[in-house]
Symmetry: D3
Subunit: 237 residues, 6 copies
């Protein structure tokens, strides 16, 4: 697992996150102001969009912009990323600024949604630093580190972050989003074939929460390192 900050230079935060063969580019773009329905509230806003490039998968998939509609899967993951990262930020401390997170999967090999959340947190943290250094935000709106991991049961065994080939034959698939310190933000478990019992659920949560601690340690290492190259100076609208 690796996290590269400053992957591109226009957005306030830009991170390439790699989990095995999975590679996701996560950017955080900053815009002054908030959507019209939120004006004057003193609160900021955070949105997220997830998408997969057509050639990210083994078989090329059709481009959603060309099809003219976004699949249910894409929308579901975009909503999950947004909810997860909004849990990590105090929108009143953000003030009337908007942060748009974009998670684009360059290459997929299982676990793209959890990689997206984990990388997006780092891009978000860099965008917050950028807002602070621009004087747009004074306090620290971040409420903790957020990371995500997927856990699967395969051949009766609980395993972390399966690659695509194993993932597609997992019996249960559990995605966990959590803070450092063991608090949970989202838990989504799905029986792929057979239903599962409470013991399996517990074992998956145990292993997953351990994984989240490690990911957050990795996020901290990446964020403690000096910013690679010049800080971005995005043109704000």
């Amino acid at each position: 697992m690796s996290i590269t900050r400053g992957f591109t230079s226009h957005p306030a935060g830009s991170v390439l996150v790699e989990f095995g063969q999975t590679r996701v580019m996560c950017t955080a773009s900053v815009e002054q102001g908030v959507p019209r329905w939120r004006k004057g509230s003193g609160l900021g806003w955070l949105t997220a969009e997830y998408a997969m490039l057509p050639a990210a998968t083994h078989d090329r998939s059709r481009r959603e912009s060309v099809k003219g509609k976004v699949s249910g899967r894409t929308q579901e993951i975009s909503r999950l990323v947004g909810r997860s990262l909004r849990a990590a930020i105090d929108l009143s401390a953000l003030g009337e600024n908007t942060i748009a997170l974009d998670c684009d999967v360059l290459q997929a090999d299982g676990g793209t949604r959890t990689a997206a959340i984990t990388g997006a947190y780092v891009a978000l943290a860099d965008a917050v630093t950028w807002l602070q250094s621009a004087g747009s935000v004074s306090g620290n709106p971040l409420t903790g580190h957020v990371a995500a991991i997927s856990v699967g049961v395969i051949d009766g065994e609980v395993r972390l972050d399966l690659p695509y080939e194993e993932d597609s034959r997992a019996e249960v698939d559990l995605n966990i989003v959590g803070f450092d310190g063991g608090k949970l933000v989202e838990v989504q478990g799905t029986a792929e074939g057979e239903p599962f019992d409470r013991d399996a659920m517990s074992a998956m949560l145990d292993l997953g929460q351990k994984g989240i601690e490690e990911l957050i340690a990795e996020q901290k290492r990446a964020l403690d390192a000096p910013y690679p190259g010049e800080l971005p100076s995005p043109v704000q609208r």
Copy 2:
């Protein structure tokens, strides 16, 4: 909570399910054959669509057909209903038949997605009976009873199936889909404000699974009663 079978007479299964003020019409339409990509596989198919009538909520919401696109929320719930009910059916025992479940919310007051799943199971069971009596299915493709419930934490207290007003200020929202006997199909928990810990998670699962047992008892009572009126005789394409 009440379940009315034979609510309308064209589809093979048609159920009105009421949870407090929430009312959902769940139908199961049967069609001979399967989509093209599945032909010759010997397997059946089951799809599900969830939608809300415009005036189902306190404030009228815009009709999705007129907007020209289905919201992320609608798609997410449709996918959840489909996955949950596919867990309750053995598609090879169904043979090359397609069952389309439609869950239309006539009135919403919290817990619409779990009401939809619970009612859809009964419509599905009636559709299976219909297929059996039509000679299209010989064995029993149903693998168990499936019901769903939502659990919330409100003012620190774990509660079942909150009405809308309480639901909208719940701290955690957990939707559980399960079989009779305690096996789980889906678990989806979301922190609405503060993140939650493993103890809260356990307490919610405990209460939720008890609720599911009661719902399944109710499904059984409804299905054991004689079919109200004539059995439907849908025209098949």
Copy 3:
């Protein structure tokens, strides 16, 4: 034929209308204010949308929200319902309020558009009462009772409101919308196979107008009864 008021409890008017096997849920939702282009005119606004649930017909039809577009038939009927009900209301006496009528067909067996108009009038009347009791409207904006009926010629004989099976082999199909007292709002006649002459037209209008008188008597009976249960208290935007 039966009319059930207060069918659901959120909208200001909510009616279930049944014509034989045809069942339509008609709601009237009230919103303060009018669309932007109408602001400051002192005039109210009334819109209408008609739709069919997927399993309302013998064969399930595809959901229009999922197809991403509304069929010509649906739009045509929505426009007809809107024109017909706007004829029954004085928009200047309504003041700058908007009433949205939704007619959703739960079960279809011929004559859905005329059932929708007839039921929508009752929902509209209840919404007007609601507006009056809320103090938003002072006078009576209703200009008369409006109902609709379909007349067909089948095997050379003029008949009222054919069920689907007969409707689909009718030679002429005439939809009439009218006021009490014999005035007409809309007349739409279509030769399905052979063209028709003026005599047939007259015979159909005679029979249809008699039918409209009966429907309006039924509307009056329903509206004269006390409101079933509590009056709705919709949250207004």
Copy 4:
């Protein structure tokens, strides 16, 4: 009123019809074969589409292709044109050929839908001749002449085919589609302000049917004249 045949040279029938300031280009394109769902039936097919060029009206209207959807009005008129012209043709005598009618309004000044139907009949007749001379059709599939007219009541007086300015303040608007000899195909009457009674209805039908006779006489004159220029030789798919 004037009818120009052979207005463009690619389609099998191409007519410019002018009613006062209203000008509609009506084409009939011929294609061998029928849509898939109709193959092997021995029956032909006829479709129709009506549209208005953006600058046809006094105020430019937005182009429907750019908006990405067809308005309810456009769809309604397209359906009316299709039904009306299908009444004039015996689809079994047409054989498995498809005729696509396109009615594009170059300039609008009231009565565009009735002008479209009247002109489309002439284009259809030329397309039938073309099919006969190509040997694709042997008998005569035309079942009679079809024309359409609009009648209005303005200041209490019944009048034929009002120009836009008068049309927009008409009290009643009645569109009639009929055959030569007095048979009716479609009757669509709408009260614009006040409802109307049976006497007004009769007076409008009387005047309208007289008008249709004159239009059909004009169609016959146009069709009896020799074809202007070379007969079209469309490339068939």
Copy 5:
């Protein structure tokens, strides 16, 4: 080649341009004011849309409004027409007025985009005159005459404005948009089969520029003639 001014009477400029069998109706509609994002800038705005009627080609093509999306080809040409005509007008001299150009191909036989540009210039010039006589524009915003021509290489020979049949087997296709006096606005050359060299490029530009001079002479002749009939008096929004 022929240019007919005043082809329809509602828009401020309305031109029918004919190049061989190709016929395009070009209108220029005037509206007071500019889009919101441009308000207060003192600058005018000019937009253009190109489209083909379904029966304009040998084989009928599907209507883009019905398909619900505009093809890449249509958009590309609309953008080209817009850029080309904006080169001919000083938007600050136009003041806060909007001109919408519509180029609708009634019949296509090659060279429709260049015919559209050449005709649109004349419609634009008439719209400018209209604005001047209405007192909305004081100076002369036109910066010169703009026309367009297509040049092809066929069987190794450079030729002007090929009809469709030859165009479709041309080896190179070059569209040139230019001013009087030899200045160029757009040059778009495409190798259809074999790539081309600089000599071919020069020969095509030489011939094309000669053609543009002739077209501009024709535009001037048309514009010097008195306006046919009454000047249009469009209703402005």
Copy 6:
């Protein structure tokens, strides 16, 4: 300028091309068979899609999949990339295989369309090698090297490949696509402010063609190097 082959590992060709700050990921995905309308022709097919990631530009742009339609600019460039690369391949030598090129701009700073074409050629060449080693193609379908460059006039001076800031104030913008050896595939010149004369055109072509020679030298260097890592083994549908 740099070219990285094997940038991702699923598609048959995957290239990251960098021109200054502009970075485009170009992939070539291979699929056995051709679209239905082409079956049995013995000819292959090549398609191309260009898109920009939302955060690729200084200001984040809205995601086209979420807007539900592809902009005219995106379609225009996709078509240009497709035409340009089809010029480089003999579709009969390719046999009934399809190659889908995807050019996704990760970061934009001017010249994205020309970078896309130049990089896509290298991805295409790798996909052809892959097809040859898989035994799906026997001969060499590539007909030469294709690259593209943009030339601008800024402050009266002709310059190659301007970065975004200069590009946006260029007076003329010319995109050239060409083969090695001086043959041209596409020439697209646009006057941004003032029109340009033939001398400027010649100077731009001279400089651009020199630039294309250098780009092709760079493509050859990249393709002559050994493939970085393992050859991709895409799963073919």
